[in-house]
């Protein structure tokens, strides 16, 4: 594509709009903010509860756990899903909660997303294991969405290829809705965005056969979220 061709394409648009070519336009400050009332006055605990409810409605189990209770939560997921093998992000937040040690002790075959490994081999592994585990950047209360900031050891296939996906997330990072997530992304733009950001809301689903709801046609058919409590269990 030459610059000339591009300029012709854009000039045609300006011409059709009946004005000279424009460059560097910025959007106006939209005065209407129709989302504000949806979450006005909700405290963090209410946002968390709403996040959990929304995910439950989408057949996704949310396990609230203190850092000390992580093993218990994982045990429950492994039992429920009958997962025997795991691929997971190379992410210090997962290391810090001792995921690696737990998997080793529990005798579950596991593979970290190590970028120094052979790409084909890693892909093959990810396609063959039962479960993928990643650490979510943000959780969106209004929808029950987790946001994954992929890149390097945070491989995007981890949340995509295995039939079961587990997202670990800190309850401090539950935000009201997409609006705050977009602001977060914009705040990171100057550092450069990763090649892929995923917003994931429950299991892969389809209604393409006689509108009959079915899970897991392409992505994981089963999703769990581990919600990490940041202080000792103050709510129960």
């Amino acid at each position: 594509m030459t610059i000339k061709q591009r300029e012709e394409f854009l000039a045609r648009i300006a011409n059709r709009l009946g004005r000279p070519r424009r460059s560097g336009v910025m959007p106006p400050d939209w005065m209407v903010k129709p989302y504000v009332h949806l979450h006005a006055g909700l405290n963090q605990e209410t946002l968390i509860k709403q996040f959990i409810e929304n995910l439950r409605a989408l057949h996704t189990e949310v396990l609230r756990a203190s850092r000390g209770e992580l093993g218990k939560a994982l045990e429950r997921i492994v039992e429920d899903s009958a997962a025997r093998s795991v691929v997971y992000w190379n992410d210090e937040r997962l290391q810090k909660i001792g995921l690696d040690d737990w998997l080793t002790q529990r005798g579950i075959a596991h593979q970290v997303w190590d970028v120094l490994l052979d790409e084909q081999e890693l892909r093959h592994r990810a396609a063959g294991v039962d479960m993928g585990i990643a650490y979510a950047e943000l959780g969106l209360s209004e929808t029950g969405t987790v946001m994954l900031w992929n890149g390097g050891g945070r491989g995007r296939l981890v949340s995509l290829l295995p039939p079961v996906f587990v997202a670990v997330i800190s309850e401090n990072t539950i935000i009201p809705r997409l609006t705050e997530a977009m602001a977060y992304v914009r705040g990171k733009m100057s550092e450069g965005l990763p090649a892929c950001i995923n917003f994931i809301t429950g299991p892969s689903r389809t209604g393409d056969i006689e509108a009959d709801l079915a899970f897991g046609v392409h992505g994981p058919g089963k999703v769990y979220v581990i919600l990490l409590q940041e202080q000792e269990n103050i709510y129960e």
């Binding site: 591009r6 394409f9 090649a195 994931i200 299991p203 892969s204 046609v217």
Partner: protein, 473 residues
């Protein structure tokens, strides 16, 4: 393609004879429409959302050259390539050239209306490439050699038995017609294709100018596989499908999923900003964005400009009484329903498509639900005017009654038309009386109020009465 009749009336006739279609279309419409209305209710201020979404889309169109330029620069900054395609042929040639350069043998696709618009599969296959549609509905109709019958649910016209038959043929063994079995088969079969494909081709729900990103909305996850596994990803976008910044993305995505299915958000929203970065070991190594004009710039600066605000949610299909009767195929073009009736004649001219602007009762339900406030039924009237002025139709009213009369002349259809009328006019009616009727009703209601059609038609009532009496005896 399994031969669709070439005339509008022929296609309508065929649709009316298709029992599965006649059952599936109203069922799908009701399901999606109910979802949309519940989602709108939950927001509590849907009009404010629609106003803002409409303003955002209008602003983007008014400054399209500037935002496209910004988008292109940022995609390149992210390490991707941008190709501007003035025509369908240009876009196809870009894809073919890339495929040739890569020595590609197979292409996996995720649902993209734009690729349907440029008949991409046909051209790729003519070059000996293997093309696989990966959206479950698209995969089904690809195997059946048919075209989508609904924007959001492309295979609603196929029964599970038909799907089982199609899949069994691929499997080489008999599969049962249980949803689980069929989905599991599709997962395994398509997963193999994904892992082997050389190129992934996707559409683009929205591009974000400020970061050079493209956004894909899906529930199945096939769009993620398409854009992650193959070494090369090509995204094709209609040139109007972009937003200035992530702030506007918030609003249009919030409207898109709610209007399409009633979901507050889709299962996957994937935002890609160029090819994999240094240090990534998954994701495509090469990213191409094809920006397609193909008649869109001709619409700019005309009375029809607002149709370019469309975000392809399909809400207008789900409330349309005419779509309800005839389904998507009868419209003949790539886009069906009210949006198709407006778009297709603009893209392809009146000669072959003069009936489309008349295949509407002008009840205005489409305009009422459009999340970006496209005045769809006004644009249909505009078309009718232009058709008369350009001599495609001799006398507007006469032609209107010919088409609409045809659509409602079938006895079985009459029943449905009356019952749908009740639902469709619900938006217009206040306390059971329609004060202001659009379109064909306008002349009538300018001098008198029209009673809202009864919930039960006389024929329904009569049938029920008769059956009731039968039981009593």
């Amino acid at each position: 393609m399994s031969g669709q009749p070439i005339t509008f009336f022929g296609r309508v006739e065929k649709a009316l004879g298709d029992e599965q279609l006649r059952k599936a279309v109203p069922f799908t419409q009701d399901r999606l429409r109910a979802g949309r209305f519940q989602a709108a209710d939950e927001l509590g201020n849907i009009e404010e959302w629609r106003d803002l979404a409409a303003q955002i889309r209008a602003h983007t169109l008014e400054n399209l050259d500037s935002y496209l330029e910004q988008l292109a620069l940022n995609v390149e900054k992210n390490g991707g390539y941008v190709h501007f395609a003035s025509t369908a042929a240009d876009a196809v040639n870009h894809v073919l050239r890339i495929a040739q350069e890569k020595n590609a043998r197979s292409v996996v696709k995720s649902k993209s209306m734009v690729s349907e618009e440029i008949h991409l599969n046909k051209h790729l296959e003519a070059q000996g490439l293997r093309v696989i549609e990966s959206d479950l509905g698209e995969y089904i109709i690809q195997l059946a050699k048919e075209t989508p019958s609904h924007l959001i649910a492309p295979a609603i016209h196929k029964t599970r038995a038909q799907v089982a038959e199609l899949f069994s043929e691929v499997a080489g063994r008999a599969l049962s017609d249980e949803t689980e079995v069929l989905c599991q088969f599709a997962r395994e079969e398509l997963r193999r294709e994904f892992l082997e494909a050389d190129i992934g081709i996707s559409g683009c729900n929205f591009a974000v100018a400020e970061s050079g990103s493209i956004v894909l909305i899906s529930n199945e996850g096939n769009a993620r596989l398409t854009t992650t596994l193959p070494k090369v990803h090509i995204a094709i976008m209609g040139m109007e499908r972009l937003v200035p910044t992530w702030s506007e993305l918030d609003i249009v995505v919030s409207m898109l999923t709610r209007s399409a299915t009633g979901q507050k958000i889709s299962v996957y929203m994937t935002v890609m900003s160029g090819p994999r970065r240094r240090g990534d070991i998954d994701g495509p190594e090469e990213f191409h964005l094809i920006v397609l004009d193909n008649g869109r710039s001709d619409i700019l600066g005309t009375a029809y400009q607002e149709v370019l605000k469309c975000i392809r949610c399909g809400a207008c299909l789900n409330v349309c009484p005419v779509y309800r009767h005839i389904g998507g195929h009868a419209y003949g073009g790539v886009y069906s329903g009210p949006i198709g009736a407006v778009l297709t004649p603009l893209f392809e001219g009146y000669e072959e498509w003069k009936e489309l602007p008349y295949s509407s009762s002008l009840c205005g339900a489409c305009t009422e639900v459009c999340p970006v406030k496209i005045p769809l039924h006004d644009l249909l009237i505009e078309h009718r005017k232009d058709e008369v002025e350009q001599g495609h139709v001799s006398w507007q009213e006469k032609f209107a009654f010919k088409v609409f009369g045809y659509l409602t002349s079938h006895p079985s259809l009459y029943d449905k038309a009356v019952r749908t009328g009740h639902v469709a006019t619900g938006w217009l009616a206040k306390e059971g009386v329609i004060e202001k009727g659009p379109g064909l009703l306008a002349g009538w209601t300018s001098i008198r109020d029209l009673p809202r059609p009864a919930k039960q038609s006389f024929r329904e009532w009569w049938k029920q009465e008769k059956e009731g009496r039968g039981r009593d005896n």
